[in-house]
């Protein structure tokens, strides 16, 4: 293999595949990046056997070929260079590469491309396309609710449901549930439900750029999913198992509903979090109706022996007075992904799930389990 490639292109490509490089493994080759010539471009791939990322960058190909080299070493080397054209040549076949640039010359030992684990190819299966902005927003609003711990693997994933042109993403970690509904561009022939690792979707979110629709392909055995982005392909194993039926967790009615300015609520939450940090993270929210639909929302927290804080924001309050306490992290997490000016909070009792969603939009709902506190009075 012999080619010339701009330092920026190499660096960009390595940055794209980097998160799929295995960090700790006894199969050292998964810490390599596979470089190969493909259709007049340089293709770079990495896989930790759960997720595989491939990307194509512009290069001037002089001789076709393929090789694998340690990803970390190559990335560190390339990133240390200034912008320039770098020539990449395999040394003796399967041994490594020589990189030559402007007064710089390096060799990196590698391994034969044939030893690299095959990147799963998803050729046929159920296919659709989706608008990049829509899927990005959907992922952004849902992955935060996926479980981080592995004690129940299905909860570390996002349940992705396709039916006709409707796409529903849902994640729940036992304390909160996030559901986002969007549309895909091509109707799927049959209803499809699968659990995609949250980590995979985070990579998709990270790598989306431009306005071109994204191809999604699921293997007929429902074991793998492919996301084809501009110049990037992400293939991931799906999590096997059954996602809990979450529809019953979404409260069907409420006795108190408030509408507040998102920015103000975020600020008050941030302030309350300072005190909440020392008091099991509890933020208390009191919703008080006033006259003509006007009212106030009081946000308070206290730290035993340290002090307390109370903030008040103006709100439209419908229904009865309501009191509910949330973990400060769960509250700030959801507020951070809402992105609309106005937010609605709905509740019934202080021990029933609270709902947070954007006003004037039905495509997102976030359910948070409250914290049990003594309200006094």
């Amino acid at each position: 293999m012999q080619l010339n490639c701009l330092q920026e292109n190499l660096s960009h490509g390595l940055g794209v595949v980097q998160r799929a490089v295995a960090t700790r493994t006894t199969l050292p080759i998964t810490q390599h990046v596979l470089m190969s010539t493909d259709g007049g471009r340089l293709k770079m791939s990495a896989t930790n056997l759960e997720i595989a990322i491939s990307t194509w960058v512009g290069a001037e190909i002089q001789e076709e070929g393929a090789i694998t080299v340690p990803a970390r070493l190559l990335t560190d080397f390339v990133n240390s260079l200034s912008k320039q054209t770098i020539s990449v040549t395999t040394t003796s076949p399967g041994k490594g590469i020589e990189l030559k640039g402007d007064r710089v010359d390096a060799t990196i030992n590698g391994a034969d491309a044939a030893e690299f684990p095959p990147i799963p190819s998803v050729e046929d299966g159920i296919a659709t396309r989706v608008d990049p902005k829509l899927i990005r927003e959907a992922i952004h609003q849902v992955v935060l609710a996926a479980a981080v711990e592995d004690s129940r693997p299905v909860l570390t994933g996002v349940n992705v449901e396709l039916e006709g042109t409707s796409l529903t993403l849902a994640a729940a970690d036992g304390f909160r549930l996030a559901v986002h509904k969007a549309e895909v561009l091509d109707a799927v022939p049959e209803k499809l439900s699968m659990i995609v690792p949250a980590r995979t979707l985070q990579e998709v979110e990270r790598l989306i750029e431009g306005d071109e629709p994204i191809d999604i392909l699921v293997t007929p055995q429902r074991s793998q999913i492919l996301f084809r982005l501009k110049n990037v392909e992400i293939v991931s194993q799906l999590i096997q198992g059954t996602f809990p039926n979450y529809s019953q967790l979404v409260p069907q009615n409420h006795t108190t509903r408030v509408i507040v300015d998102l920015g103000e609520l975020q600020r008050a939450t941030r302030t309350a979090s300072i005190f909440a940090k020392d008091g099991s993270g509890i933020i208390r929210i009191q919703m008080s109706p006033g006259t003509n639909g006007a009212g106030t929302v009081t946000i308070s927290s206290r730290a035993e022996e340290l002090g307390d804080n109370t903030g008040e924001i103006e709100a439209e309050v419908e229904g009865e007075e309501g009191k509910i306490a949330f973990n400060s992290r769960y509250l700030s997490d959801v507020l951070a992904v809402l992105g609309k000016d106005k937010v609605a909070m709905e509740m019934t009792t202080s021990s029933s799930p609270g709902v947070i969603k954007p006003v004037d939009s039905d495509n997102y709902i976030h359910v948070v389990m409250p914290m049990f506190v003594q309200w006094g009075e």
Binding site: T25, L49, D150, A172, G174, Q240, A325, S351, P353
Partner: protein, 361 residues
Amino acid sequence: MVTMDADENRFVALVDLDAFYASVETLEDSTLVGKPLLIGGSPTSRGVVAAASYEARKYGCHSAMPMSRAVKLCPIAVILSPRFSLYHEYSQKVMALLRRESYLVQQMSIDEAYVDLTSMAKTWDEAEGLAHRMQGRIRLDLGLPASVGLASNKLVAKVACETGKPEGFVVVRDGQESAFLDGLMVRALPGIGPQSAQKLRNSGFATLGQIACASLHTMMNILGPYGAVIQRRARGEDPSPVTTDHETKSVSAEETFAEDVSDGQSLAAEIERLSKRVAESLSNHGLVARTITLKLRNTEFLTITRSSSRDRSTADVEAIVADALHLLGVNWVDGDPVRLIGVGASNLRLVHATGQLTMDI
């Protein structure tokens, strides 16, 4: 709890991590590769070996042996204090990996779990492929060596796994059980301990095959009613299902003293320390306990456990300390030397002590 029907043809794998503590230490510190490792208490006090690497086992060292003896057998061994939280972390990763392969995983200990592959595979070839992949994934993703036994029930899977250690992969297909078991020595069967083995040997039984084809009458003469159970097991019969049971039944912490302790103040201090660990573990799991248990072992290895139940469940350190101290006051004669002390909590209920309510999923 999830179980599979016991009457259909089953594929059950036992996954057992080889020299688990030692393997983890080697992963964490590559300079230990290939060296005999002994993990456990100090040889100068009364520590015992919690784990020995295969290299150390060649010298005759094994777990539960006093460290002082193990060091005499293998003076060049590297001695490490156990890092249980680290092993626990690795163990959780392994279990999570197994649960990605099958929803029916029964964890037996920190390094051992049964995985039911019945619903994942239709044929033995498929089951073998899945089991092989699990072993490979544990090796590749986590860097840990594991042995796997695959059979149509838990018992045979367990024996198969043991015969292959380390890094073994032993499959005993349906119908091959007697061919596999018959030639094995009686001690290879789980359930036959040193005493039963001695009785069997005295009666001329050396192999499992001999037990399998003996008359029931003979077996019961040798081992009592248990003889019938042993015979069924020696024939490779085990209907017990793989069950998932996430329920924590009790939480406890205990300490073996390096030197016997006979003053009340030191015991109280130890109770406080152990209670703190118990309380922490309870609140980490969002549990509260109604029953607090104190365990005491004296120099004659006589162990007593005494419990007291409360009106209201708790996860509070002070409440646990108070109960345990009360139990100490009632059950310990002042000045009596104590070798081991433990505090436990049982009768558990899930509440999420932090006050965080959970979803019903």
